[in-house]
């Protein structure tokens, strides 16, 4: 029998909230974290808005020894990981270190650190480059630092599928768990709010250049004009359900029931985009039908053509206006490798509390997108399963199904803290 993978811990660093409950409250209140960029001078670039994580004082979360060797991205990721591990009630020192792995998603690595050191190299010379540049900017740095800090030496890795990575990391974690690894820390946290992180996104032509935070990122709207970038994301503790029960995990947020990934065909191909196929495959993997899905967390590109592809994928699978769809990332911006991980965390919180968070700033979807978009305020509803969709630049598609797990309501598994 195949092992069941459950999520037992969540750690969130998001533009509209630091910490899971802070984020969740803001998200249900419809409070956005999008505003003018403050982390660098963005005034000379066409896009000037971002979702920045508020109130993060790194020294409060990161040991002094790690400060010189970590980027802002890695500090956010390590903080989210520590919170997730704590939330899961995992005492890493008491568990077999080779039985715990770490799989994170990355988009461009720690580009803020890398940019600073390359500027030093170019303007002052090689003696001015930090010795820690050797690893601090590298794609796998979040995985490495989390693994070292918590002594998790089981199978580990990093997945680079841009915005789809947050889901792909969880799919990969489940693969490790099915092979017998009891626990894998997974998800994604990104932070590329620096010129080096900005320019490649601008080059994609998909970034919003609007100046009003309430009008800049409007997925599925007739006024969609691109996306706003953000920083942050979520780290989750995924576990074998049996192991989680044995060690009396304080809670089970839900089960990773289905996962699938596809690649879009080459541009100009007559074949259809792959998002709908990823969604169908994920449902099939979970052994569910569209009628079992109570809410869809959309990728929500905010680019008209891409919104159309997603709307068609959803209506093609569920029918017109047949399932509630939401994009709480309208309050955070798109977080690159962190975005889909945060959406999965949000979907699990929605299952826990029986409430769908809203898509903000969008009054209604464009008339030719027959979606039941949850706009304005949260919608209370009993939720059994959620489908989370994500697309990464370059044709990556990923879909994940999370559902309530029986242990969620099993008081015998509970430990109250």
């Amino acid at each position: 029998m195949t092992a069941t993978t459950v999520v037992t811990g969540i750690g969130i660093t998001a533009p509209n909230g630091l910490g899971t409950e802070d984020y969740w409250k803001a998200t249900l209140d419809g409070r956005s974290g999008i505003g003018p960029v403050t982390r660098f001078d963005a005034s000379q670039y066409p896009a000037t808005l971002a979702g920045e994580v508020p109130g993060f004082v790194a020294e409060e979360h990161i040991p002094s020894r790690l400060m010189p060797q970590t980027d802002h991205m890695t500090r956010l990721a390590m903080t989210a990981a520590a919170w997730a591990i704590d939330d899961a009630g995992v005492d890493a020192a008491a568990l077999p270190e080779y039985g715990m792995g770490v799989v994170t998603a990355a988009s461009g690595g720690a580009v803020e650190f890398g940019q600073r050191e390359l500027q030093n190299l170019w303007s002052k010379g090689k003696e001015y480059v930090s010795a820690y540049q050797s690893f601090a900017w590298f794609y796998a740095v979040n995985t490495g630092q989390i693994s070292i800090r918590h002594k998790m030496r089981g199978p580990s890795g990093v997945l680079l599928t841009e915005q789809a990575g947050g889901i792909d990391s969880l799919g990969h974690a489940r693969r490790h768990i099915r092979k017998g690894i009891p626990l894998v820390v997974a998800g994604g946290v990104d932070a590329a709010l620096c010129p080096w992180g900005w320019v490649p996104q601008l080059a994609s032509g998909r970034m919003s250049t609007a100046g009003d935070p309430a009008r800049a990122y409007l997925p599925f709207s007739p006024d969609a004009c691109g996306y706003v970038a953000g920083e942050g994301g979520a780290i989750l503790v995924t576990e074998d359900a049996g192991s989680a029960r044995e060690r009396r995990a304080p809670q089970v947020y839900g089960e990773i029931a289905g996962y699938a990934a596809t690649l879009d065909p080459a541009p100009g191909s007559a074949r259809p985009p792959g998002l709908g196929r990823a969604a169908r495959n994920a449902l099939a993997d979970a052994g569910l039908t569209p009628a079992d899905i109570d809410v869809v967390f959309a990728d929500a590109a905010g680019v008209p053509d891409l919104d159309r592809v997603e709307a068609e994928a959803i209506t093609g699978l569920f029918g017109p206006r047949a399932v509630p769809v939401t994009a709480p990332k309208t309050m955070t911006g798109r977080l690159l490798a962190g975005g889909a991980a945060l959406d999965v965390a949000t979907a699990l919180l929605a299952l826990r509390d029986g409430v769908i968070p809203p898509t903000v700033n969008v009054a209604a979807p464009a008339t030719d997108f027959p979606l039941d978009l949850v706009t304005g305020s949260p919608r209370e509803q009993d939720l059994r399963a959620a489908l989370v969709l994500a697309r990464g630049h370059g044709g990556f598609n990923a879909a994940l199904v999370v559902r309530r797990h029986a242990a969620t309501t099993d008081p015998a598994s509970g430990r109250n803290d």
Partner: protein, 89 residues
């Protein structure tokens, strides 16, 4: 270029260690650490590479690349630095 009259002290070194590589919890760099191996103070070879880079920039001394391996304690590193500042004269 090089400052020839420099004498780097343990106080200077611990300050630069803190700046370049942070301070390990449970280690008191202000204590009697002159003969404590760097590894026991929580500094690996990369941390030493980082602090040696800072010393070279700040004091204009040249420190041989092997110092990272050879200088196992603050005393040994200070000897190398202060010898380097003389030889660079």
């Amino acid at each position: 270029m090089p400052i020839t009259t420099t004498h780097v002290t343990l106080t200077d070194l611990t300050r630069m260690l803190r700046e370049s590589a942070g301070e390990e919890e449970g280690v008191d760099l202000d204590g009697d650490v002159i003969d404590t191996p760097f590894i026991e103070l929580g500094y690996d070879s990369l941390a030493l590479l980082q602090v040696i880079g800072e010393i070279q920039r700040e004091y204009g001394v040249e420190i041989p690349d092997d110092a990272v391996v050879d200088a196992e304690t603050p005393r040994a590193l200070l000897d190398l630095i202060n010898a380097g500042s003389t030889s660079a004269a």
